[in-house]
């Protein structure tokens, strides 16, 4: 097999590439959202309208609820819509159509209808966008049967998972962390770069503690792992990539080896994905655990505006180091 070609891309460019490739491959794929035909606020959809026309790259009014429903109504007739919700904070306006219609139609129809739908959205507290443009809400959707949830941490996964999501026959919530948009990484080209949903990536091997980190927390965890290594603590860093389906096996295997688990995400800790991963992991590996499962997330507050507060709000490598140190003492 010839070696797959690689390019250095930003996360954003990887998203654009995935959209372009899938639109070229499958005429059923279409994009809908506010200003998507002019590239959107971050340029993720730049160039698509020029290439595929505005019948397939559809600007929408500010009507998140109905637009989500439009995508569902198109999906049941065979389209593969990729809807953009500009900030995940605004998905609050589309919850009915996503949760009550998209997620349930396959089931409620006894399998007659399918909803191959991707909801692309971005999240995260960065740049002082304040309380209504900064939330991380992925945890809600783990609780919604019928929806899959994906959260890539690298440009390669952004492309690979988005392509997989578009080809999936179910509603997939594809969450991009805004802080990662301009990060760069090698991206494999072609079909080889597709990343199937439900497979975690071990970002760094380790022996003493398992750190499961989501999206932008992966790089924080890696830098924490570097610091911890200097203290002689060997941390294994796992990026689950997809939250539902979740690759529990990889996490549990790691915990059985390290006997300690920390989950890190930017979302507020309470009610977050950390609790769910902890629940599943302690069930799978209880007898191997030498310490309670710990989690690290934002404090239980809305996202503050002031840069000083925002910086303190988002978990970082230092906090991970401190939590792991505590965990090692337990």
């Amino acid at each position: 097999m010839p070696e797959a070609a690689q390019r250095e891309l930003t996360f954003l460019a990887a998203i654009t590439a995935a959209l372009k490739e899938e639109m070229a491959r499958d005429a059923a794929v279409m994009v809908l959202g506010e200003d998507v035909a002019v590239g959107g606020p971050f340029g993720a959809t730049r160039g698509l309208a020029e290439e595929f026309g505005t019948a397939r790259v559809v600007n929408t009014p500010i009507s998140e609820g109905a637009v989500m429903g439009v995508a569902v109504g198109a999906a049941v007739l065979g389209r593969r819509p990729v809807v953009e919700i500009m900030f995940i904070d605004f998905i609050t306006l589309a919850m009915d159509q996503l949760v009550n219609q998209a997620a349930k139609l396959h089931y409620m129809s006894g399998g007659q209808l399918r909803v191959p739908l991707v909801v692309r959205t971005q999240c995260g507290a960065t740049g002082s966008y304040a309380a209504q443009h900064s939330q991380c809400l992925e945890a809600w959707f783990l609780h919604v049967p019928g929806v899959k949830v994906v959260m890539p941490a690298t440009p390669a996964d952004a492309r690979g998972l988005l392509k997989a999501a578009i080809r999936d026959d179910n509603p997939v919530l594809f969450i991009e962390q805004r802080g990662l948009y301009w990060s760069k990484g090698a991206v494999e080209e072609g079909e080889a770069g597709i990343v199937p949903l439900g497979r975690a990536a071990i970002r760094r091997g380790g022996e003493d503690v398992t750190v499961v980190a989501l999206a932008s927390m992966v790089s924080e965890a890696l830098s924490a792992a570097g610091q911890l290594a200097e203290e002689g603590i060997s941390a294994e860093v796992i990026d689950p990539r997809s939250l539902h389906p979740l690759d529990l096996e990889t996490i549990a295997e790691s915990v059985k080896k390290t006997h300690r688990l920390l989950i890190v995400h930017e979302a507020v800790a309470q009610g977050g994905v950390g609790a769910e991963v902890a629940m599943q992991a302690q069930l799978a590996a209880f007898n191997y655990l030498d310490a309670p499962v710990r989690r690290l997330g934002a404090p239980f507050t809305p996202v503050p505006y002031s840069p000083v507060l925002e910086r303190g709000y988002v978990p970082n490598a230092a906090a991970i180091v401190a939590t792991v140190q505590q965990l090692m003492r337990e």
């Binding site: 609820g65 109905a66 109504g73 049941v76 009550n100 129809s109």
Partner: protein, 323 residues
């Protein structure tokens, strides 16, 4: 009533068949609710049959229909199999949705009935989305979506009208204005008396018609469908009607004056159409009787099919969550 010339005997027979079928089906449903063979929250539209019958009579098989929570009538009018429909209401494995959907979530994909909804207004945007696909198919297909007067105060309604208008989609909004949302009259929900005026705001051609006059409904629908098929964009039909029963099966409906119900009983769409048929001699008395009898037989057969179908088995619970 539309002039006799609009309706030939064949059309009259078809309309009568549909109306009788819906009426008898829903009366049978009501009975089966009474005996707990049909569980859950069931909304029948007895008294509103002319709306679904009239509108759907101008649809093609490859058109699509969405309903509201009160969706048996449009499903039947679109040609759904009565046995599978009844079996679904009874929560049986032979139901359209294998017993997983129920009365508010009927899907009969084979005939283009794409779904009802438990959320008021919930199917309006779906219809717009499906119409977008129909437009692109270029085969003249249209989408019709039914909803109540209560849905016209929901944000999704307005967003959906705007999108349909903006994108000039082949979707026909059919408002079954029965004057009530649950237990309160329309006047408690909005000052807008003619819901069709919302369509006017969006420059969507609209008509308010006597929803208990199946001929008038059919004619108005025919115009809207013709426009939509020809690429002329959406249409809006407000059908003034009344539900002769409670909001859901079991609702004693004490919030309405008996005199009001009495007035509307006189306007029963089925009786009115029977009179028209007789007056204009569209069908013979024997033909009329045969239509009713056959409808009754089909409904009864459907009930038997439904009750003969086994309930789903527990191992079915976890199938169809993901495709």
């Amino acid at each position: 009533m539309a002039a006799k010339s609009q309706l030939d005997g064949g059309t009259a027979q078809a309309l009568l068949e549909t109306m009788w079928t819906i009426r008898l089906f829903e009366e049978r449903v009501t009975e089966l609710c009474g005996t707990n063979e049909i569980p859950g929250l069931t909304h029948v539209g007895i008294g509103q049959e002319a709306v679904a019958a009239g509108t759907c009579s101008v649809l093609r098989r490859d058109d699509y229909v969405y309903g509201s929570h009160r969706c048996h009538a449009p499903a039947i009018a679109k040609g759904a199999d009565l046995g599978r429909l009844m079996a679904e209401l009874a929560g049986r494995s032979g139901g359209y949705c294998a017993g997983k959907g129920g009365s508010m979530h009927i899907v009969a994909a084979e005939v283009g009935f794409l779904s009802g909804t438990g959320v008021v207004g919930g199917t309006l945007p779906l219809a717009v989305g499906s119409a977008l696909v129909c437009r692109d198919h270029g085969r003249g297909q249209v989408v019709m979506v039914f909803f109540g007067d209560g849905a016209a105060q929901a944000g999704l309604f307005h967003e959906s009208l705007n999108l349909a208008s903006l994108w000039e989609l082949p979707v026909i909004f059919v408002c079954e204005n029965n004057g009530y949302a649950e237990f309160t009259p329309l006047s408690a929900h909005t000052k807008v008396e003619r819901l069709a005026s919302h369509a006017t705001t969006y420059a969507i051609p609209c008509r308010t018609v006597d929803g208990n006059d199946v001929g008038a409904v059919r004619q108005a629908a025919a115009e809207a469908v013709e426009t939509a098929r020809g690429g002329g964009g959406p249409g809006f039909l407000e059908c003034l009607t009344y539900r002769l029963r409670g909001h859901y099966v079991g609702d004693p409906a004490k919030y309405r004056e008996l005199s009001e119900v009495g007035e509307w009983k006189k306007k029963d769409p089925l009786q009115r159409f029977l009179e028209v048929v007789a007056r204009h001699a569209l069908l013979t008395a024997e033909e009329v009787e045969a239509v009713e009898r056959q409808a009754r037989e089909r409904v009864e057969a459907a009930a038997q099919t439904a009750l003969a179908s086994p309930p789903p088995t527990i191992d079915q619970t976890e199938s169809h969550v993901y495709a």
